[in-house]
Amino acid sequence: MRALVSGEAGVAVLIDGRQVSTLNAGASEEVLLTEADIPYLLADATDVAELLDTTREAAAVALDLACRKDEALHLFLILLDAKADREAQQLSADCLEELFSDQEVLEFVCNRLYSAPLPANSDLVAALIHADNARAGRLTNFLDELGSFQPAVRRWRESWDQLGADLFEQGLAQEEFRAAVITTGAFRRMVHAEPEEVDGVLLDCLANASLRKLPGYRRVLMAWTAPFRAAKARLRREIGVEEDEEQGKQARRTRRRSEKPKPSVIVFETVNKQKEAIKRLLSEGKTETALKYVEDLVRYQGDRSEAQDLARSLCDLAQHAKSMGEHKIQLALAQRAVQTVRTDGWSYIQVGDAYRCLGRLEEALQAYDHAVRDFPQNVVARTGRAEVLKEQGRLEEALQAYDHAVRGFPQDVVARNGRAEVLKELGRLEEALQAYDHAVRDFPQDVVARNGRAEVLKWLVRMEDALAYYEATLRDFPTDAAARNGKVSVLVQLGRYREAQALLPGGTPRTRNDWIAEHIRGMILMKQGDLDAAVHVFERGIRESPWRHSIPYFRGALSVALLRRKEFRKAVEAIANEDAPAPNILRLHAFGELAEIAEARKALARVEGSRLPRVIVLREELAARYVRPEAGRPHHSDDWVFERECDLLLAA
């Protein structure tokens, strides 16, 4: 009996004289057919093996093995495919662990995977994660090794591809030879070989019966391995001929092995790739998938590295989520980090930061308090706490906290900038300017300090100075979006709208600075008299901006637009419950127009203590109009008030 066996087709054709029957993979019964069916049975299979003088049982065993090899290869390719179905990949990992328990199957896949570099669409990291989820040790090792040998695979493959066609006797021989070096494992063995082992593997190949029957086998194999044998010779010369051969071998082995990534390096690289993938997904707005990947990261890194390292990874991702305005995810990641290591101060700081970004200031303060208590030497905990106090409007306490931080950590620029910022909020502008001057002197490369200084100049209404300072900053930091926005806002206040518009970014706003730019765009429209378009921009900002801190600016601007339209009730509603100098000025204006003097007085009381020049001029004008008419001060026009209100918002 003869048999034609194909794992790809999943069939063994048994031919006994004129009788033809088939065995199908997974089916126990034999099906009687005819010779005419054979082309259909084997169709375009490329792995047909002919067994001569065989038996039905032997053919069944050969079929089973051929099918398992074929399945393993397919499942492995699915596992590696970056675009594959995740469920299919997980199932593949489960199955492969079992299939790889058979050494023949493992070698079959190995022989093929080591014959060419992994394609661009393969994702080894995701494959490792699936293997890890499946608790598939054999598969994980295989993937780890496959990844670490990619440079060698690439070198051997390049050497093969560079073989000239003249080495082969006929056109088809080259392809046939390539198939043979793959299926015999020659490729895999060469890739695995140390430099001093190449000759040995070459000798084995020269003796291999499958390769020997190919025309010109010696010539082809010698040419293929030539670059590697030459490298070995160079290595020997470098080491020196007088060196003892054994010592030399040992040294080369050590050197060679040291080139291969250690397992810890592989874990580090894998984790980094996982993090990159998660960050990419967050940037693309695919949060659901990103969170699934986070679970994979927690499982993978949790099993392989210190809990502290995993917490750091989660905190890093939390910071990225923050930069994308995904504050709920930022909080979830930070809380996960705290759960991972309850003694990690950095994780508590991240939780505090996330709560602050979400506007949950009391919870933020608690988290920072916890961090300051347990990690008093952590300046980030202290500055974070001070920042929360500032946002709560507890400016004096915030200043004390910053003073404390600056005394303890004079070289921390964040503490220095934070202190200067609180001084500005308190209206102590000259002190703020001095604090920023010192920060810029001590930290000339800190762009935040430079932008902070320019902001103070704006509040001091030194517009030309502010513009010059922003321009100088942009020369040193040409891509800094905050400096660009600062310059644009000054240009708008100077009425140079066209120049301002030219500097604004295009596209859909995403980052915090994008939304600030959007606010400025609306302000330009409003100042140019296109109130409808401006209102549209502001309402969209209130509705869509993920940046809590940008919302008051949009609310204030919308209120100014509504005041301009004389829709005073709506102007009050637009401000909502914001409680800062600018919204209180707008409240005073709106309630004054509505003749609700008691409410206007309340708003006035909240800005009575302000030392900010832009607030003072408006406060006095509006108070004289609506609350203290007896003072008899000359009134400015509505246009004057509108312009000053716009400038107040642009300076904020």
């Binding site: 169709a43 490329t46 179905d85 990949q89």
Partner: protein
């Protein structure tokens, strides 16, 4: 035949005129359109119609022909073969000769390969490497012994270049003892649009009074009891098939985990990249 453009003679195996490079049509389609083929086929159909009338099956035969006009070409492959075939934007179905030429499959020089070479040369002289085989089906299912996946091809991508043949061509040649000086007799092949006439001429004896439309699928593609060959109308398609030639995949729900994984991935590719549907039973 002469080239309609330059009036020079062209060989039966040539698609483009070697003089003016005018596209003279697919060789298999031209072969089925030859007058002697049409005459012989018409004669067979006439006899079948007479027989059907005599047996009171004329309306049933008309109904059968209507059904066959909506039949599709179906390829059967294993799950793993289908996964390979649809995994890239390359040619879907490489013919055996092209696989050998590309070195992907080594010619075994088995008696079966030799028989196949003879039969294919008889049917497709000089262009056998361009022909892909399929079976005609009414329900989307092919011959299960040939592979658990039935790939139903889009009518629009094969209509112009497909022809149909009486049965498995290798079986046909063996059964009639065809070979040197014994060419394929006329009347057993037809163009795609005339497949209903060929199927009716062949299968009229199987039509019985009382049969209904759902029975037609099992007549057009019959699975005989063990020991007999599957009987179907063979489809010959000239030229390559792209994965976007697939209209749907019909497959039995797999039981093994490995096959479930492959099918899961296959489903994603077919739906998202190919635009095909999947039907499990």
């Amino acid at each position: 035949m002469t080239c309609p453009n330059c009036r020079e003679e062209i060989s039966d195996n040539e698609r483009d005129c070697s003089i003016c490079h005018h596209d003279c049509g697919y060789p298999n389609v031209r072969a089925a359109q030859k007058p002697e083929e049409q005459t012989a086929r018409a004669g067979r159909l006439d006899l079948a119609e007479q027989s059907a009338s005599a047996r009171g099956c004329a309306p049933l035969m008309a109904e059968f022909r209507t059904a066959v006009r909506s039949s599709r070409a179906v390829l059967c492959r294993s799950l793993s073969q289908v996964q390979s075939l649809v995994s890239g934007d390359h040619e879907l179905y490489a013919s055996f000769y092209q696989l050998v030429a590309a070195g992907a499959r080594r010619r075994q020089n088995t008696p079966e390969d030799r028989d196949r070479g003879v039969a294919d040369e008889l049917l497709f002289p000089g262009y056998r490497e361009h022909i892909r085989f399929a079976a005609l089906s009414l329900d989307g299912r092919g011959v299960p012994h040939y592979g658990e996946c039935s790939l139903v091809l889009k009518d629009s991508v094969i209509r112009q270049r497909a022809t149909v043949f009486e049965e498995n061509s290798l079986y046909f040649c063996g059964r009639l003892g065809l070979g040197v000086r014994r060419p394929v007799p006329p009347g057993y092949r037809a163009t795609w649009d005339e497949r209903d006439g060929l199927a009716a001429a062949k299968l009229e004896p199987k039509l019985r009074v009382g049969m209904r439309a759902p029975d037609f699928a099992g007549i057009l593609l019959a699975l005989r009891p063990p020991g007999g060959e599957p009987d179907f109308v063979e489809v010959h398609i000239y030229g390559p098939l792209h994965r976007k030639s697939i209209e749907r995949l019909v497959i039995r729900q797999p039981r093994r985990a490995a096959h479930r994984a492959i099918l899961k991935q296959l489903t994603k590719v077919l739906r998202e990249e190919v635009g095909a549907t999947i039907e499990t039973y």
